[in-house]
């Protein structure tokens, strides 16, 4: 259940990169100087890290390590 949720999250995240709703307006200025579109993509990167943490935590291909080290 966790794995499909993370994969679904990846697909949703890919779609969220196309933030057409912030295309033409710089306001509101976050912290008084960061245009909304720039802040959105900075936050997107931070959120990507969280998503990737989920992927690593719940979808880690640990079988690869087992099969690879078997040769050693």
């Amino acid at each position: 259940m966790r794995k499909p949720a993370v994969y679904f999250g990846v697909a949703v995240f890919y779609a969220l990169h196309q933030d057409f709703w912030l295309w033409r307006d710089a306001r509101p200025l976050i912290f008084g100087f960061l245009p909304a579109g720039l802040f959105y993509h900075a936050a997107y990167m931070a959120a990507s890290s969280l998503l990737l943490w989920g992927l690593v935590a719940f979808g880690w291909p640990s079988h690869l390590e087992k099969t690879a080290t078997r040769r050693e």
Binding site: Y14, A26, G37, H41, L52, L64, E65, A68
Partner: protein, 576 residues
């Protein structure tokens, strides 16, 4: 001159790192030690070195220069899409490359392709295309080094000398330290990048009297307000850029870096922290590039803004040479250097020079990758190692590094820069179009060597085609567009100021999709040339039917390799 001395001191430090790596190496004549650091990099060095290998001069100079001319859109185009897709590629493809390399002793992706598809010379074709796409990066790094040293020394260090010194240093530590030296230097470079961003923002913000006023002033001016939105960029163009980061995992030096981790678990930290490292470098670079438009009190920046205004003035009828001169004057690659030079104390500017030099010198891993590919995919494949031994293989790699660096330096001295800027632009699209090879090799049992060849040849032809087209049809003035091919009232291929588009997309989109399509169609048409079950068993879990076929063929002697292979190797992958 002080900034130049700091840069020279930095070059001395990285050379010492190469010597240290040489002394630490387990065996100077051991190929796996030299080319892959003995597959023994720890988690922190693996993260920083892989990240450093991906961050080139474009991450600081290119990002801020692009943002200076195009605004905040630069961040969404290159940074945020890469922050998701590059770690995903490391997760999906990089981890599998690591396991295969460890299990089968692969040192390059071409070795894996040759094994996966039971092919020889087709692997050589893939090597040739990969190598050809990598060369411009190395040449442009020499150019960047020459330009940076000339800028930070105020012209005291000429271009040819700066390029020569940087080439010698890179050659020195790659020659001596191999992958271990390269990884350590990349780790130092990454730390420098990460420190640089925060310092530069603080210093420039203070110098400009705060960013709030600068941004409000930009919003109030019709010429600069669009730089704080994305209204000048079409959504299709923006979407196209999500294909570019696919190129990262197909770059040979990144693929080879994936083989250097001591444990699979070292990928975890790299995958999770990669977006945050990118954020720390790209956000300052892009933001400073954008607000540089408000730094008109710095003469060099003011001249750039005036040149850009002259270029885009409505009704401006400029001669070609005048337009080229204005374009060169408006180019923003050094804008962050000028900004920091204008607002920061000398020592900060000197540190910036070292950080920029570190970014420029990311070519080290590319030179080493080319050397590894040449020795493994050509020298060893064509029996050189069997005839002359492993020590000769490492010597060949080192000789290749010296010769190649020399050739790259000579080209950099003579070549017009624009050619290599374009070539670098095409390389991203080219490597993205090669990604279907990796996906098919690792996840699709039905792929064949002929499918791989079709994708590779298509990629080479498409890159060449776009290059020829852009050379034949000069870029129109900013905002202009020249239709090249129309059908049924629809403009199919258009030459714009920022490049060529196909149905509104960047060429990377049709190139990658067509490459994937060719892989599927040609593989299906040549299903008879699929590798035997023994080969497939090294990559996939086979069904009971496939195993039965394998056994039957082995009994009848149809494929003598199968018996040995089936006994000694087990399937690595779940069937996908």
């Amino acid at each position: 001159m002080i900034p130049a001395l700091v840069v020279f001191a930095y070059l001395g430090v990285v050379l010492c790192v190469g010597v240290l790596a040489f002394r630490t190496a387990a065996g100077p004549s051991n190929a796996e030690e030299y080319f892959l650091a003995g597959r023994s990099l720890g988690p922190t060095v693996f993260l920083l070195s892989l990240f450093g290998a991906n961050m080139t001069a474009f991450s600081i100079l290119g990002a801020s220069g692009h943002a200076f001319a195009n605004g905040i859109v630069t961040f969404g185009l290159m940074a945020s899409s890469s922050a998701l897709i590059i770690p995903l590629c490391l997760f999906v493809i990089g981890t599998r490359l690591w396991a295969l390399g460890r299990r089968n002793g692969f040192m390059t992706t071409v070795q894996m392709f040759r094994d996966r598809w039971d092919c020889g010379h087709i692997g050589t074709v893939i090597f040739a295309v990969q190598a050809a796409l990598l060369v411009p990066y190395i040449v442009i790094a020499v150019m960047g080094a020459g330009t940076t040293l000339r800028t930070v020394s105020d012209g005291l260090v000429p271009y040819w000398l700066g390029g020569a010194v940087a080439s010698l240093v890179v050659m020195g530590y790659v020659f001596l330290g191999g992958m271990r030296g390269t990884a350590w230097v990349n780790a130092i470079q990454s730390v420098l990048f990460l420190l640089f961003g925060a310092i530069a923002v603080a210093v420039v913000g203070s110098g400009m009297g705060g960013f709030r006023e600068a941004v409000e002033a930009m919003l109030a001016a019709p010429s600069t307000a669009p730089l704080l939105t994305r209204e000048r960029i079409s959504p299709l163009y923006f979407f196209s850029y999500t294909f570019i980061p696919l190129s990262s995992i197909a770059f040979p030096h990144i693929g080879i870096f994936c083989l250097t981790a001591r444990r699979l678990g070292h990928f975890r930290k790299t995958i999770v922290l990669y977006p945050l490292c990118m954020l720390a470098i790209w956000l300052p670079s892009v933001f400073l590039g954008v607000v540089a438009n408000q730094a008109r009190n710095i003469p060099a920046i003011s001249e750039k803004i005036e040149a850009r205004a002259a270029l885009s003035a409505p009704g401006a009828d400029l001669r070609n040479d005048e337009r080229d001169r204005l374009r060169a004057q408006a180019a923003g690659d050094d804008v962050i250097l000028r900004l920091v030079q204008g607002y920061a104390p000398l020592w900060i500017f000197a540190l910036l020079g070292a950080a920029v030099m570190a970014a420029v010198m990311a070519s080290d891993s590319q030179i080493l990758a080319l050397s590894t590919m040449f020795t493994e995919d050509v020298f060893t494949f064509y029996e050189g190692k069997r005839h002359f031994g492993e020590a000769a293989q490492v010597r060949t790699g080192r000789i290749f590094i010296v010769l190649f660096t020399l050739i790259a330096y000579l080209i950099a001295l003579r070549a017009p820069q624009s050619i290599f800027e374009l070539a670098t632009q095409y390389a991203f699209a080219g490597y993205a179009a090669l990604t279907p090879l990796l996906v098919a090799a690792l996840f699709w049992k039905g792929s064949t060597k002929w499918g791989a060849l079709a994708s590779t040849v298509w990629t080479a032809a498409a890159v060449l085609g776009v290059a020829v087209l852009q050379a034949a049809v000069p870029a129109p003035p900013p905002g202009g567009a020249v239709p090249i091919l129309s059908a049924g009232g629809i403009e199919v291929i258009v030459r714009g100021a920022a490049g060529t588009t196909v149905l509104g997309f960047l060429p990377v989109v049709p190139m990658t999709l067509m490459s994937a399509l060719l892989m599927v169609v040609v593989s299906k048409c040549t299903a008879a040339s699929r590798p035997g079950p023994a080969t497939l068993a090294r990559y996939f879990e086979l069904s009971s039917l496939e195993r039965a076929v394998s056994t039957a063929r082995a009994r009848t002697g149809a494929d003598s390799r199968i018996t040995a292979g089936a006994k000694t190797r087990e399937g690595l992958w779940p069937t996908i």
